[in-house]
């Protein structure tokens, strides 16, 4: 039954790889932002020089980790949710509610992504800049939100498809694709 779906699952594998990549990029950028802030501190308090781009760039890196890293978080089930009510339902009904939740999540993220693309496009067309000392063209930071939302939305497609497959094959009892893995990692707030 799953045989004819082979090309589709290659597409899904690509999405999952993108989500992984988003996580690795975010992780590296958090380390980079740490170094940038330290460099800023060094410039200001040790050399007495003024900082120009450090605060702004490190803030954009933080936004990258939040919005783009969100896809990695979704893939690994890190986004805290309340599933006590859902868990009480019979298994079949659980799957349908999970599907509904995944679709609502997808729609929301896709909508935010869409309006964020529009905002990004307008900003780029108008050639707006951040108006700070560094005065970076806003087209770069404004791309973070739509990029992140796209990746999260794609990851939601994978999750929805997984749930759908569980519904159609009637295979329940597997780990739901949207729950957290590796709790003993333990860093979750």
């Amino acid at each position: 039954m799953s045989e004819p779906e082979a090309p589709k699952s290659a597409f899904f594998r690509l999405i999952e790889r993108l989500s992984e990549l988003a996580g690795y990029a975010s992780g590296v950028l958090i380390l980079v932002s740490m170094l940038i802030v330290c460099y800023g501190v060094f410039l200001r308090y040790v050399l007495g020089a003024s900082t120009v781009w450090q605060l702004e760039l490190s803030t954009y890196l933080l936004m990258f980790a939040a919005f783009v890293g969100g896809a990695y978080g979704l893939k690994h089930g890190d986004h805290v949710k309340i599933d006590i009510l859902v868990n009480r339902l019979p298994e079949k009904a659980q799957l349908y509610v999970r599907l509904l939740a995944a679709l609502l999540g997808f729609l929301f993220i896709a909508a935010v992504g869409l309006i964020a693309y529009v905002l990004w496009w307008e900003t780029t067309e108008a050639g707006r800049t951040s108006g700070t000392a560094w005065n970076v063209p806003l087209t770069y930071p404004y791309l973070i939100v739509p990029l992140g939302m796209t990746l999260i939305a794609l990851q939601y497609l994978v999750i929805a498809a997984d749930i759908l497959r569980q519904i159609t094959t009637g295979r329940t009892g597997e780990r739901p694709p949207d729950t957290r893995e590796g709790l003993e990692g333990g860093q979750n707030q």
């Binding site: 958090i30 932002s33 308090y45 803030t59 939740a101 609502l104 999540g105 939100v145 707030q189």
Partner: protein, 451 residues
């Protein structure tokens, strides 16, 4: 339609979205989006993207991933083992000494990280197997870790205090200092409860098994028969001095106003990395990537909640919800302490279901005007609220620390963990009572140091 009714409808939509199992962050955003469609001009939809972008465009928020990073660096090292040992050689001989040592180690680890489940995980991973080996009752061992871990958000640095500071425009440096003495107080209260629990356990064991001999033996084991030489004691103490030095340094630059919290966090994380690399030699590219990924997972979870709750807060403020609620409550002719208790009950109730980060970000924009209107000190209230949030980490169904401990010790039934942990909710409530009666416990240190 009155703003209060609108607020009620928004709260209802939010509850439904969260009950469906949509991640809290996205449920907040979805609610915000629906509210725009229902109550505002859909033409204002365009602002939504701007709100999302500017919600995180704040250098102050960088302190969160950086303090999480600092905690992840220590969590990955053997630091937790040294902290436990340092506590163990000093108080290990008391009845329940190892459990008390775990709580003390938790409070030390809390000073290295801003997250509670991270604290429970780091100390629990080594302390729970050790307590099991020495015959501690499951309830005592797991309870100590679940409760001890909650100190992560009270003892600075603290992710929730950073968010409280940002949401209410209160000094984060002051909040951090204000958390120190209550943190020590709560650590002591936890230890006292462990002693009481051990005495209760011993008595029930004695009445259940009148043979006498076995009980003596059992309590011997639990008491920890080792004695330590003073040389050994100071040797273990010296091992933890670099960690304590680091946190004292981070706090000092904050309170001296030398650096902002984000800068202190960045320098702290860099020094943590150097410290761990030098002392434990356990940093290589592979586990550095592991630390970075772990930081990403926690950070994106917290920051997306920050982002979308800020958007919802913005929209509620447009709709005059917080302003009107503050007006209504301020006009109530009741004692402010009645309102204080009411708010705490509300936080406690929300804590059953929602993680602390989200509670602070959802309620503070609405309730903070009320708090200042009633003349409560914002710093003091922040610490009281944190104690309340700690209860939420212990109580089911969404007590994050319970599940962390269950993940560490899968062979201990959740029932034992629950029975062992729930008394600490009472201990924390007692702590809030003390803070309400003696507000100086909170305000003395920041006022003394920062004027």
């Amino acid at each position: 339609m009155s703003s209060l009714l609108i607020g009620l409808i928004i709260a209802l939509i939010l509850l439904i979205m969260m009950a469906l199992g949509i991640p809290v962050a996205f449920a907040l955003g979805l609610t915000a989006m629906i509210s725009v469609v229902l109550f505002l001009d859909p033409a204002q939809f365009g602002y939504f993207a701007d709100f999302v972008f500017s919600s995180l465009n704040n250098f102050g928020l960088l302190a969160i991933p950086l303090f999480v990073l600092m905690g992840a660096i220590f969590g990955q090292s053997k630091a937790s083992l040294d902290l436990l040992e340092a506590a163990q050689v000093w108080i290990g001989r008391l009845l329940g000494g190892l459990a008390m040592s775990s709580v003390v180690a938790c409070s030390l680890f809390a000073a290295l990280t801003g997250s509670s489940p991270a604290t429970s995980a780091a100390i629990g991973r080594i302390a729970i197997p050790e307590m099991q080996r020495r015959g501690y009752p499951n309830q005592v061992s797991t309870g100590a870790i679940v409760a001890g871990g909650t100190l992560g958000i009270l003892i600075p640095p603290s992710v929730t205090l950073i968010l409280y500071g940002i949401a209410t425009e209160t000094s984060i440096g002051r909040l951090f200092l204000a958390g120190v003495i209550p943190g020590i107080l709560v650590t002591l209260l936890f230890c006292v409860w462990i002693l009481i629990a051990m005495l209760l356990f011993r008595r029930s064991a004695a009445s259940a098994q009148p043979a006498g001999e076995d009980v003596e033996e059992a309590s011997q084991v639990v008491a920890g028969p080792e004695s330590y030489t003073w040389k050994h004691r100071f040797a273990t103490l010296i091992k933890v001095i670099p960690f304590i030095g680091l946190i004292v340094a981070v706090l000092s630059v904050l309170y001296l106003g030398i650096a902002t919290p984000s800068e202190a966090a960045a320098v702290g994380a860099l020094f943590a990395l150097i410290l761990v690399a030098v002392l434990y030699r356990s940093i290589n590219p592979r586990n550095l990537m592991g630390i970075a990924l772990e930081t990403t997972r926690t950070s994106t979870m917290i920051l997306l909640i920050v982002a979308f709750s800020a958007v919802l807060g913005q929209i509620m403020s447009f709709l005059d919800v917080p302003q009107e609620l503050a007006q209504v409550i301020a006009n109530l002719e009741v004692n402010r302490w009645v309102i204080f208790i009411g708010m705490n009950l509300l936080f406690l109730f929300l804590g059953f279901f929602i993680p602390p980060v989200a509670i602070i970000l959802i309620t503070m924009p609405v309730l903070f005007p009320v708090i200042t209107e009633l003349g409560f000190d914002p710093i003091w209230f922040g610490i009281v609220m944190t104690l309340n949030m700690e209860m939420g980490l212990i109580t089911p169904p969404v007590g994050l620390n319970l599940y962390v401990v269950q993940g560490i010790a899968p062979d201990i039934p959740l029932r034992d963990i629950l029975i062992g942990s729930l008394p600490y909710v009472g201990v924390l409530a007692f702590g809030i009572l003390i803070l309400a009666l003696f507000p100086g416990v909170v305000t003395w240190l920041p006022n003394y140091l920062m004027g």
